[in-house]
Every structure is written in C-alpha cells, then in structure tokens.
Symmetry: none
Subunit: 201 residues, 4 copies
DNA sequence: GATGAATGAGTCTTCATTCAT
DNA sequence: CATGAATGAAGACTCATTCAT
C-alpha cells in the first residue's frame, strides 16, 4: 500500500484521514464504519481501499501523523532556548496549544491506548516525547536548578498533568488554552522544583 | 433487568462481570464478543441475558461498580485525618494501590472516556472524586497551608499525575506501587504548595 | 468448529452439505455464494457459520465425505473376491455406479483438482484409491494373470478411463451406467492384459 | 473487441494471455484478479480492456487458442500415416508431449469443465478431437485391425488414459514424457485390440 | 434457570469494469 | 494507446440478541 500519489491523490488521502479522525473521535473507532466515512465524503468504497489497505491501517496512519505533528510543534517551540526549565515550560505550553487545536487527535490517543495493536504504535511515539522531557530534566538537575529525582518519573508526571488539564478544561469545557497552560506550568514547576513549606517559614 | 437474585445468582453475576472486565481490558470492549465471555465461563448465552439486558449494560455496570469501589477505598484511606494535605496524600496513595490491584478496571476507565455513551457515566463518577479533592484543597487554602489557586484545576492535575504514573509504572512496568505513590505524592505536593526557587537563595 | 451436534443439528449440517454440493456442481464453487446456499434452504446466514467455519471448510468437508463414501462403496463391492482381476472389474463397476448416483460429487472432484488448497485434500484421497488398485494389479502380476508393468501407471490408467467415460456418457449423456461400466471394464482389461495382435495371426 | 492490431499490439495481447494462463493455472481462474495480471506485467488496467472486453473473454480466448494449438500439433504428428493404429499411437504421443510442454493450459481445461459457460466452449473443442480419434478407430475396425466396438466410447477411453497419465506423471511427478506416452500407448492399444487371456493360451 | 440453535442486519473487503486525464 | 483513480455491487463473515426446548 505504498502508492506513489499524484497531487490530487495526496489531497484525497488527507481528506480521508481528516474526516475519519473526526468521526473516530466523535463516535469511536469501532462504531465508525468505512461505509460511513466514504459516504460522508461522497465517494465510492473503492476509494478508501485505494489509499489504505484496511481500516486499521488508516487509524495507525492517523496516529503516526498526529504524533509527528505534535512532536514537530514541540520542537519548534523549544528550538533555541538554553534554559532547560524554560524548555520544559515552552514544551508544556506547546502541547497545550496543539491539543486545543487538535482535540480530535488528542481523543484518538486515548482510544489507541486501549487496544494493544494500537497501543504499541502509541507507546513508541510517547517514548520519544518522554525522552525529550527526560533530557531537559536531566539538564536542569545537572545545572543544579532542580533537586535530584527520577527524571523518567518526572517526565511522565508532566505528561499526566498536561493531558488531563487539556482534556478536562480545553476539550470538555473549552476554557482558554493559555490560562490552562499557565496553570499546568505552575503546577509542574512546583512538582519539579520541590515543595516549599508554607508553614515552615 | 432489576432481578431479585438468589445467592448463587449474585455470584454468577459477579463472575460474569469479573471475567468480562478482564477481557474488555485485555482486548478492548468491541473486540470482545458476548460469545467469548460466556464460552470462557462455560455457560450458555441465555445466562448472559438473564443477568444483563445487553452488552452495553454490562459494561456500564462494571464501570459503576469500579467507580464505587475506588471511591470506597479512598474514603476509607482518608477517613479520620484532620490535615487536608495529609488527606490528599493518602488519597493519592489509596488510588495508586487500588490501581495496582485493579489494572483491568483502570484500563476500562480509559476506554470509557472514548465513547460518549460511556463517557457520560464516567464523568459523573469522576466529578464526585474531583469534588472530594477540591474539598481538601479548599480546606488547605483556607487553613493557609497552600497558596491560593483554582482548586478544580489543582484537583485535576493531581488526577492526571496519579493516573499517568499508575498506568506507566505500575501497569506497564510493574514497579513497586508504594514507590510510585511516593513519587506522585512528592510531585503533587510540590505542585500544590508552589515552587521553591533553587537558585533564588 | 468441532461441535457436538444434536440429532437435529446433524440433519441440518447434512442438508447444508447436500444443497451446497449441488450448487457447487451446478454453477461452480466460486460463483456460488454462501447467501445463495442459506437462502435456498430458507435459513439465516448464521446457520451456515454455526456449522462450518468458512465456505472453504464446507467444501473440504464435502470432499472428504464424498471420498469416504466412494471408497466405502468400492470396498463393499470387492469385499470377498479372491481373483484380483475380478476385484478390479468390480471396482470399476462400483465406481461407475457411484458416479452415476452422485454426479454432483464427481463434478466437485474435477474442480477440486484446479486449486491447490483443495487439490491437496483430493490427492490424499486419490492415493488411497490408487493404492488399492495397485494392490490388485500387483497380485494379478504375481499370480501370472497379467504381464509385468508399472502397477501405479496401470492403476491411474484405469482411473482415467473410468472417470472420462463416467463424465461423458453417464453425466453428460445419461446413458445406462451398466453398459458404460462394461465398456470400461472391457477396455481396461484389454489394457491390463496386453494387446492381442489381430493381424499378427 | 475485434481490433486490428499492430505488430506490437499482437505481442502485447499474447503476453497478456500467456501471463494470465500461468496465473489461472497456478491459483485458479477466480482467485486471479485482473489487477494481479496487469500488475504482474507492469501495465495499467486500460491495457487489459483494450485487448479484451472482459476477464471471461480472455479466458475463453486462451481456451480456444490452446485447443487449436493442441489440435494442430496432433494433426502434424499424424500427417501422412496410413495405418490407423499408428495414427492413434502418434496422436497419443503428440498429446502427451504437448501436455508436458503446456501444463498451464492442460490445467485450464480441467477448470473449464467445471463451469457451464466455459464447458460449452471446451466441449466443442473436445468433440473435434474425439471425432478425429473416432475416425481412426472406425478405419481400424473397417480394416479388420481392431475388434468391433463403440468407436466414440473407445475414443473417450483413450482420452481419459492420456489425460490422467499426463496429469499424474508428467505434471505432478515430472516423469519423462516419452516413457509415460509409451505406457499410455501400450494400455490403449491393449484396450482397443481386446484382451488376450494369459492363462488361456 | 439454562442451553445453544437460529436470525439477519451490518462489517470489512474485493474486484470487474469505466473513464477522465 | 496507456494510466490509474474511481465506482459500487457483491462477497465472506461477525455478532448482539432472541427463543424453542
């Protein structure tokens, strides 16, 4: 299924992926039939199988694409920042903004985690993102800007905060993503830098 | 489908729910057929429809049960603690331990979030748990033990950290749940209490 | 797909096999759809898959059954005959009669030979029948009733004559199977016993 | 679909027929798709439908061609032989050699017999070949070289022996076609000339 | 209470064929 | 002549659900 596509073909394929992603996010992967997808686009069923060898493959491709895109966004946001803590902050903010702009895809990540055949692909992508965060954390620790702790655990904690806040406040309640991002950053930096005893002073 | 069940009936029903939950968690809700469930238990299809009006109902019932159980566990862990921060800490630890002991159910929560008909039920349960955490946070703020911030946001941040660490380190990597819980508590308290500038000294 | 069947179940299964065999013989294996089969029997599609795991499996089962039946018939015909030549003659006659009574099945043998996945099963069955004939031929040669020649080749020659005459004169032209059998026997015995030069006298 | 073809066109068409015949013989007519054929030749689908109006037509054309070729070969082998028995012998040998060189096509004959729409064309071709053999047999009988018997029946018996031995020993077991042909001739002449009682002498 | 045969709408997928480019 | 995207009817198979026994 590695077809060399014409310009029109590429557009068609993207169209299918976008539409399908929206449906999958809305009704779920299984409840969305291939028939529904092609009908929604007003094309014949054959079109689908011209571009994808199966429904599963389509989903996997959407997943891969989304992960690449998210990562690209994060990279661009961090780019040339020297301070590891600043890199973490900008990474969180970038994730949040991306999540706000792609609620469909964020939702698919959720589902992908629930079936092994998709979880595999998901984990591979997540590992890259985590490795990135781990890198920043290690730098910060090395530079004495952060108390010593398991960087992998910290990286996942950041991920957890970011995802949960994005899901609840951005996707479900449509709050301002900047504000949510700021809250996430605040919380995470607190978690990373260690607690300050309020009463102890 | 509100049958008065004999003792044997109740056991049967629980057996069905446990087995189904395991399958749902392992292969996913949709890929698991009713036939597979009853065959796995060595009973006829009639049994299934004697206790549940549909597959969907079964899932919903598992979900409700799991949420009740988790909540009961958390309540018991917090019980008679006076310090709100201590209550939060024990709540996190209790969640982690529960999650370690019920990875199946934790997995189902994930899936339930991806289809609206289940997400509804899920949210209702989550709201209760969040309301609880919000309550503790508010207390802590009121008692001057925590800087002022949006308690709902903080509660969700805690939830995010707990879930992500449980999923990654307990379910996927089978690490010691006590240690993971401690890391989660550390991170969350840091996030709640506010950042301490290491270099600012 | 190894179900223990009730009496009714066994009848159903046989009904499906008989009907399918007729359709396969009439229109061919591929052009006959499962839908056509179940519709012809006035049952739902599920019934088919309750008894057979696939269309291919059904065909294979029909094939196996037919081969067993043919073989049983041949065995019964030969039974307690001492003379190997007589055994061959009766074997040919039995095949011919069976073929006349089961033109459907005879036709399926033809098709089965054209696709590897079926040909395998077919060859296994044919080998048994051939082995039988080879045995008789060897006996005849040993007893000096037949000139020495490759018994396997002779056995196949007999098979070829029998099949071709059955197909052409019994199936296509509906001639009397006794008469055709006699012609086959005459030809084969001639072939086996060696030529008699008419002019050589 | 009666196009006047350029030289290149004729070559293309032959290429399609040869390749398709090989695939049909290997995997069967139905399991072989038009897409597979054109892809195997590295051409577009348009090419196929430029030369053939349908897949069925292609098969029919392959069939007709094969029958003509076989017949031409037989004719050439018999050519100017006076003795009808010799003509039969050479006919058998020619069939065997042709069969060895065209196992693909021989296989297609088998399949063609299993579906009515192809069987028709097949029978027409077979009738010609049989008529030929019948002619020789009648001659032999008339010349007193062969005992009187139904010539049509005898012709088919010869056909059966030839096909079966070719299929089993040449196609499946790749034995020497000359040797197999000799065995076929021996058996058939025996069958034609009548049995010689070994013990009776 | 329990069984398992039966239903049939619905799923994914294939493929012969057409046609704009 | 040739390409390859597009069509859509049709196919094999699944599965939640029902019901006679």
């Amino acid at each position: 299924m590695d077809r060399r596509l014409t310009q029109r073909g590429t557009a068609r394929k993207r169209q299918l992926m976008t539409f399908a992603a929206a449906r999958f996010a809305e009704h779920g992967y299984h409840p969305t039939s291939v028939a529904e997808i092609v009908k929604g686009l007003g094309v014949g069923k054959g079109v689908f199988y011209w571009y994808f060898s199966s429904k599963e493959e389509l989903f996997l491709e959407i997943l891969r694409d989304a992960q690449h895109d998210l990562r690209r966004t994060q990279k661009a946001a961090i780019n040339d920042l020297d301070d590891p803590i600043l890199r973490i902050e900008h990474g969180i903010r970038a994730s949040m903004v991306w999540s706000a702009e792609h609620r469909d895809l964020a939702n698919l990540f959720l589902f992908a985690a629930t079936e092994e055949r998709f979880a595999h692909s998901l984990r591979k992508g997540a590992e890259v993102a985590v490795a990135d965060a781990v890198h920043h954390v290690k730098d910060a620790i090395a530079e004495g800007k952060m108390p010593d702790a398991d960087p992998v655990m910290l990286a996942h904690a950041i991920l957890g905060v970011t995802r949960e806040l994005a899901k609840t406040f951005i996707h479900e309640r449509a709050e301002d993503s900047e504000a949510v991002a700021t809250a996430a950053v605040e919380f995470c930096l607190g978690g990373l830098l260690g607690r300050r005893d309020l009463r102890g002073d």
